[in-house]
């Protein structure tokens, strides 16, 4: 063992112990670091293939209540609620050129057509998510409908409603985990349609832009949209 000062059996055993300890410490650190995936904000039009899954592309706000026709409600001051369309709806159809909202005083029934938007010359209907009476319209959105695309959940609200039978109405709306599962199923449905039409959009890392439904089906896109918004009959 002469001349092997650092690598004789005792020395090497010592190094082995140190390496083993360092390894265990580093493994803990490494695994923690690897699992810490703080999510970057999503940029509109980003390449989908680089994202975890399509579901992440459609935002839901946790505290809101959602109607399956892709409208939402959220309590406002004076026991009124705000009503709007969700992120999925706004991304699906893109920027509307005109809005037709029910006037103040109009009585709404849950599940009946209430809101209208004009996109590319076609009128798209949305269902009312609740029963009640319209008390206010968001004039800002009517003047510049692109607010809807920029901030569908806050500045992009459409009408304020004085609700009736709110507990019953809420029973029929989706919230929290259920809403999340529902949007996942919606995405599944969407991917069925996409693969049936032109898979190009998703598979090849192509970009999904606002109003992408129009690219999927040139003429009949309003019918597909109506299927999602439950206004197809």
């Amino acid at each position: 063992m002469e001349g092997f000062k650092y690598v004789d059996i005792f020395a090497t055993k010592g190094i082995e112990y140190i390496v083993a300890i360092v390894f265990l410490i580093m493994l803990v650190w490494f695994w923690k670091w690897l699992n810490d995936t703080s999510v970057r904000p999503m940029v509109s039009g980003e390449k989908i293939s680089h994202r975890v899954s399509l579901v992440d592309w459609f935002h839901l706000v946790n505290d809101y209540y959602y109607h399956q026709g892709h409208t939402w409600i959220f309590p406002d001051k004076n026991n009124n609620v705000k009503v709007g369309i969700d992120d999925f709806a706004q991304k699906l159809i893109g920027e509307p050129t005109d809005l037709s909202l029910p006037k103040s005083g109009t009585a709404l029934k849950q599940g009946e057509r209430a809101l209208k938007m004009q996109v590319d010359g076609k009128w798209i209907d949305f269902l009312s998510p609740l029963d009640g009476e319209v008390v206010e319209i968001n004039e800002k959105v009517i003047q510049s409908p692109d607010i809807l695309n920029r901030d569908p959940y806050h500045a992009g609200w459409l009408i304020k409603v004085r609700p009736e039978r709110l507990p019953v109405t809420l029973n029929n709306l989706l919230h929290g985990k259920v809403a999340r599962a529902w949007i996942e199923e919606t995405v599944n449905k969407l991917s069925h349609i996409i693969t049936g039409n032109s898979g190009v959009v998703l598979q090849d890392g192509g970009k999904i832009t606002n109003g992408f439904i129009k690219e999927l089906d040139g003429k009949e896109w309003d019918k597909i949209a109506a299927e999602f918004f439950l206004t197809n009959n």
């Binding site: 390496v19 390894f23 690897l34 293939s49």
Partner: protein
């Protein structure tokens, strides 16, 4: 008596139905003349001729093998590397059936099928290398078991593992043919087969390494260690998963039409999950390598040509993939995951070839290099496997969803209330469609 007659009648009808069905499935789906098919056909044709020559005139007629180098790439690549690449099956089935990570369910079937075919073909390629291939049956039937040999363990493990993987995969076959009852029976065997399969896998992945313990004096000390079995086992985890990632990205292009919507949507998520496991496993492997290196006092070999070669293997094909996988997971970058998987696979190939061929007999002046014929035969084995895989994927419910009758009816309230808006008309149509597909078997 009447009853028996009708049963016999039923069986007869079933056989008739099966034969018509099978013949109709034999027809090629898609274009026959494609560049890939033509090249594959030529190679397979030449390969088949070479295999005939090998069995007629012996190993020396087409290989460079001799007493000094009894094992060439047929063992080093086909068997030793092929089995490591097929390791994905036991890892994925462990994750899905034991840990219940449902996220990975969509890739179970394709992975198990890949694993099964890999074993059939690559372990099958072992026969090419046996001087008297018919003796392969001896350890099984007991005409001298050879229990003192690691080969005994490897032989039994390969055979039992193929059986276990076949059972795991068999529900897909029953679904394809439409055997409802048989599928139920086979489906109930899955979990047992999975547990059995995992046990066998962990043992024979390391068992393959243990084979090389016998060749201590022949393998270069940088690759020889008494811990080869452990290194082989740990590396088979990320080798297998890297293969799953690579195959997945190829499938996504080639078999897109067969993939279920859920599979397509969840694909990226699955790939990133696998990449994370790969990163973890490579991290462990790297440290094991380091420990073995220190334990065996290998510093003195580093400043030699073999040492540099060793450093390339570890640096470029272990350390770099680790870095790529980790970064890809952090940045959610699928393209980098794919690149990392390719590098990892090359690294595993290099490691296994180093152990079994390149750094084997490193002190002997003579070097072994495979003949073009050995390479052609290896390519033949790989190509035939790919063709069989393609044939099956295009017909069986492997990437696609199982037929409706075989899908578990989920009692998901959301689906029931909001989403399953299947019209009466549609469900009638589906039922009709099923009628002729599903038999009473």
């Amino acid at each position: 008596m009447m009853h028996d007659m009708s049963k016999l009648e039923l069986l007869k009808n079933e056989i008739k139905r099966f034969i018509t069905f099978f013949l109709s499935e034999l027809k090629p789906k898609g274009k026959v003349i494609t560049p890939f098919n033509v090249i594959a056909a030529i190679i397979i044709l030449v390969g088949t001729v070479l295999i005939v020559i090998r069995f007629t005139f012996g190993l020396s007629s087409i290989t460079n093998l001799n007493q000094e180098f009894p094992w060439g790439i047929w063992i080093g690549f086909d068997v030793v590397t092929g089995v490591a690449f097929a390791g994905g099956a036991y890892v994925i089935t462990f994750m899905v059936y034991i840990l219940r990570l449902e996220k990975y369910h969509p890739i179970v079937r394709i992975t198990v099928l890949n694993g099964f075919l890999a074993y059939v073909f690559y372990a099958g390629a072992l026969l090419l290398d046996l001087g008297r291939p018919w003796n392969v049956i001896n350890p099984i039937i007991g005409n001298s078991f050879g229990v003192s040999s690691v080969m005994f363990l490897v032989a039994w493990h390969f055979m039992l593992y193929m059986l276990a993987e076949f059972i795991e995969f068999s529900p897909a076959i029953a679904e394809w043919i439409g055997w409802k009852r048989i599928r139920k029976i086979l489906g109930s065997l899955t979990l047992a087969a999975v547990i059995f399969g995992i046990t066998l896998s962990t043992l024979h992945q390391s068992g393959l390494g243990a084979l090389f313990l016998m060749a201590k004096s022949k393998i270069h000390p940088l690759w020889y260690s008494e811990f080869i079995p452990i290194l082989f086992f740990v590396s088979s985890i990320f080798a297998g998963l890297s293969m799953v990632i690579l195959e997945g990205s190829i499938s996504q292009k080639v078999f897109k039409h067969r993939m279920s919507a859920k599979h397509i949507v969840s694909h990226d998520d699955i790939v990133l999950g696998l990449a994370k496991i790969c990163a973890g496993a490579i991290f462990v492997y790297l440290f094991l390598k380091l420990l073995v290196f220190i334990h065996d006092n290998n510093w003195r070999h580093i400043n030699t040509t073999w040492g540099y070669w060793f450093l390339i293997e570890v640096g470029v094909f272990v350390l770099l993939p680790l870095q790529l996988y980790s970064n890809a997971v952090k940045n959610k970058n699928i393209a980098v995951v794919k690149a990392a998987s390719i590098l990892t696979l090359i690294g595993i190939l290099l490691n296994r070839l180093n152990t079994s061929v390149i750094a084997f007999n490193w002190q002997v002046a003579e070097r072994y290099f495979p003949t073009w014929m050995e390479i052609t035969v290896t390519l033949t084995v790989v190509l035939v496997e790919i063709l069989v895989l393609r044939w099956l994927v295009n017909r069986l419910p492997i990437l696609s969803d199982p037929p409706l009758w075989a899908q578990r009816k989920k009692k998901d309230p959301i689906q029931q209330i909001f989403l399953v808006k299947e019209t009466v008309e549609e469900s009638e149509k589906n039922k009709e469609m099923e009628e002729w597909k599903v038999s009473s078997m």
